[in-house]
Point group: C2
Chain length 78, copies 2
C-alpha cells in the first residue's frame, strides 16, 4: 500500500527555496502571489489494512521524514 507524505515548511519559517523559485518565476514574467517548496515522500508499505499502513506511515514521518521545529506534514493514501 502506498502512502504519500507531504512535508512543508512552517509558515513562520523562512522558506529560502520557495523565495528562490518565486523570484525565478517572476524574472520569467510569471504572475504569482507566493510559492512554498517542500518534500514529497512516497512510502510503499507491506500489505496490511489501510488503517495500519496510515499509522505506520505517521510514525515514520514523525521519526525521520520531518523536522517538527520547522516543518509540518500531511499523509494521503495513494
Amino acid at each position: 500500500m502506498k502512502i504519500g507524505v507531504r512535508v512543508m515548511p512552517r509558515k513562520e519559517v523562512l522558506d529560502t527555496q520557495g523565495r528562490a523559485v518565486e523570484n525565478t518565476l517572476r524574472e520569467h514574467g510569471r504572475r504569482l502571489n507566493s510559492c512554498q517548496v517542500g518534500r514529497y515522500v512516497v512510502l510503499d508499505l507491506p500489505d496490511s489494512s489501510a488503517e495500519q499502513a496510515m499509522r505506520e506511515a505517521r510514525e515514520m514521518a514523525e521519526l525521520v521524514l520531518h523536522n517538527p521545529l520547522i516543518e509540518t506534514f500531511e499523509l494521503e493514501k495513494l
Copy 2:
C-alpha cells in the same frame, strides 16, 4: 488559487534520497517495500479561472520546477 505540483524522480533514475530514507527506516526496524523522495511545490496564483490557473501552473512546472530528464510532475488543485 493554490495549485500543488508534485515532482518525483523517474523510475529509471537512481533516487539517492529515497534509498537513504529507506535504509534509515530499516535501521529503525521499520518494514517497507520501497520509498521515493521528491519535491512538492505549492503555487499561489492570482485569481483566475481554475482552468487558467492549471494551465499557468503547468507552464511554470515545465519551465523551472522540474527537470524532464530525471523527473516527472503532477498537478493538483488545493
